[in-house]
């Protein structure tokens, strides 16, 4: 079984700071990580490989420094890493990103064998769109299972997969055919601690590095900023509300009492509403 896992190297958002004057992101010194959602996809892929044999190929598009995340993925046990990097890819929105990634997956298919499953995380923590998974599926003509909470069964002989997909108010149990694309939900597994052998292998591994041309991109105008139908026109910080918060003064009273008095003073109907809410009618 050949499984491709698409990952993205993202800034550790917990440490992002915005320049107070210019409203630009201060990237200097911000560590990068594998998009946390992608680790659930990677672990799901590794589990299937361990069960059925085969290979896991991790793929990312990004600057040359994204190699760090690929090496990390190898330490977890991925078999092969492919870096898609080219200045033509810069500034891609989700549509242009899926064009590049789908092209690279076709190339992976030709070079290393056709994938049975392509995995992505449910979304990234920097873009948060959840659009790239479905976009890759559509471009490659793969069936898609998004927001997968659990893979119940894969039958490599019958070429089928059964999975539980999160939907509003419950889970759908779906059965579809391979090859397909799966986006994994968070907290569905826990990424393994890589074996020492994998760490050693990862340190020495040759990362397969492809430019747009190497990957077989035929139309460079479909890549990057040029290939993006969406255009970002303004980036700005939200304006502060005209009036700042009224601070509750509790010098002479217990703070809890002071706060409740302030709330009921501001919204006289609130007390009655709270009573009905607290008693469930």
């Amino acid at each position: 079984m050949h499984i491709v896992v698409c990952i993205k190297q993202v800034p550790d958002s917990a440490q992002i700071r915005v320049h107070p004057v210019t409203n630009t992101i201060m990237r200097q010194g911000v560590p990068t990580i594998i998009n946390p959602y992608d680790l659930f996809a990677l672990e799901a892929a590794l589990q299937l490989r361990d069960k059925f044999g085969g290979e896991v190929t991790v793929l990312t598009m990004g600057p040359p420094s994204a190699e760090d995340s690929l090496r990390r993925a190898l330490t977890y046990g991925a078999d092969r890493a492919v870096l898609l990097t080219d200045r033509f890819f810069a500034g891609a929105d989700t549509l242009a990103t899926t064009y590049a990634l789908a092209t690279a997956i076709r190339k992976i298919s030709e070079t290393f064998g056709a994938p049975d499953i392509v995995f992505t995380g449910k979304q990234t923590i920097d873009g948060d769109t959840a659009q790239v998974g479905p976009g890759i599926a559509k471009r490659l003509g793969l069936l898609q299972l998004t927001y997968v909470a659990k893979i119940n069964e894969v039958d490599p002989a019958a070429r089928t997969i059964e999975a539980e997909r999160r939907s509003e108010g419950g889970v759908q149990v779906l059965k579809t055919k391979l090859p397909c694309l799966v986006t994994m939900l968070e907290a569905t597994n826990e990424i393994r601690r890589g074996a020492m052998a994998d760490a050693l292998r990862a340190a020495r591994a040759q990362i397969v590095t492809w430019s747009a041309k190497d990957a077989g991109v035929e139309d460079i105008s479909k890549c990057g900023l040029k290939g993006s139908p969406t255009i970002v026109k303004r980036v700005f910080a939200p304006s502060a509300r005209a009036e700042k918060a009224v601070f509750v003064d509790f010098a002479n009273r217990p703070p809890a009492e002071a706060l409740i008095e302030e709330l009921f003073k501001r919204q006289p109907k609130l007390e009655a509403e709270l009573v009905s809410s607290a008693h469930g009618f």
Binding site: G91, L143, G169, V173, A237, A240, L259, L263, L274, V275
Partner: protein
């Protein structure tokens, strides 16, 4: 490499780009809202989007249309009729047995074909699991722009859709345009837009569109649907009162204090993003851009600093109360009432004080 990495030019609107809208896109007119119905229920986000869509349609002086996709029968007809009460000028229906359960293949074809036939300029969907699954497939099929999780929608003087959303992990906002492609697609999360008033109106123009697909064409089969246990269901997005905690609580054990206050108030509890990342609280309880957006009558935030990505998820609340030890925390920029103290100490006292106030005894006092 998502949208936000692009350098933003200064001016807004199509005037800022060299290209004119290609000729074949000029026929694209009117604003559409995808009405999400599953198992006979319309997701409220669809009506919220009708409110936003109505404003856009009025500014553009075009029609607002609802698009309802599902099985033949009462539920879909009712959803279409109901859309007129939320501002639709017309409704499109694609009804077929194969559309009984949501499946990407069939729904993508239904919506894509309808767009290609009737050519809307703007298409809005709810950013639910269904809406995001569908929107990504439809936008890629149509090769058009899709802006996810918008927090504000507007049209420019030249009629372009200006879709604003948080970016860089929610630390800034950006406004995104799809200038040279149609339709301009956007998703909006539940509760981001206010629920419009329902006004009784007759269903006038309903246009039925055939799917042209049979069960044999669809590879994916739905084996079953397992509803969530009631105990596991959180009504966070639509709750009237919400109590939430953040890193200021210091430890996962202290999160119980948030749950305790929520229980006394009959409220839902939630948390900020770091608590989910630390594994203290499950992700269905996360409030903010990447979690739930809420619009309660009362929101109490304990030990939450108030990053932009949290702010956009709670700004619709009628009354925001912030408890934080740092009087310079950004949460006090958008809270209505603030108290500078340690939430770990205040929460138990607040819980007891509310319990005393809201006891059946005091209820009699209010009634009298």
């Amino acid at each position: 490499m998502s949208e936000p990495t692009k350098a933003p030019p200064a001016a807004a609107g199509r005037a800022a780009t060299k290209k004119e809208l290609p000729e074949h896109f000029k026929a694209y007119k009117h604003v559409w809202v995808f009405i999400e119905q599953e198992r006979g229920q319309v997701h409220p986000v669809s009506w919220e989007l009708m409110g936003a869509g109505r404003e856009l349609a009025d500014k553009l002086k075009v029609d607002l249309a609802a698009v309802v996709i599902g099985p033949p029968g009462e539920a879909v007809q009712h959803a279409a009729a109901e859309s007129f009460c939320y501002g639709a000028d017309l409704a499109y229906i694609v009804a077929d047995e194969v559309l009984t359960d949501y499946r990407n293949e069939a729904y993508t074809k239904a919506l894509t074909d309808t767009v290609n036939t009737f050519k809307p300029e703007i298409l809005l969907l709810g950013a639910t699991t269904l809406g995001r699954d569908l929107a990504g497939s439809v936008a890629t099929t149509l090769l058009t722009g899709l802006t996810a999780d918008c927090t504000a929608l507007d049209v420019d003087a030249d009629g372009s859709l200006a879709a604003t959303r948080p970016t860089f992990g929610g630390s800034l906002l950006c406004t995104i345009y799809t200038l040279n492609y149609r339709p301009q697609m956007a998703t909006v999360r539940p509760r981001v837009m206010p629920m419009p008033e329902r006004i009784e109106k007759p269903a006038t123009r309903i246009i039925e569109h055939k799917l042209g697909m049979v069960e044999e064409d669809i590879v994916t089969k739905v084996l079953s649907f397992i509803p969530d246990r009631d105990s596991a269901k959180s009504n966070l997005a639509y709750a009237d009162i919400v109590v939430a905690g953040g890193l200021g609580l210091g430890s996962p054990e202290n999160f119980q204090l948030v749950k305790g206050l929520a229980a006394v108030l009959g409220a839902e509890f939630g948390c900020s993003r770091p608590l989910v990342q630390k594994g203290w609280v499950t992700s269905d309880r996360q409030i903010g851009q990447t979690g739930k957006t809420i619009r309660p009558k009362l929101y109490i935030a304990a030990g939450i600093s108030g990053a932009i990505q949290h702010r956009v998820g709670v700004e619709g609340a009628d009354l925001i109360v912030a408890i934080n030890t740092d009087k310079n925390a950004p949460i006090f920029d958008f809270a209505h009432v603030g108290i500078v103290t340690d939430a770990i100490r205040l929460l138990p006292a607040l819980t007891e004080a509310f319990r005393a106030r809201l006891s059946p005894h005091s209820r009699d006092r209010i009634a009298s």
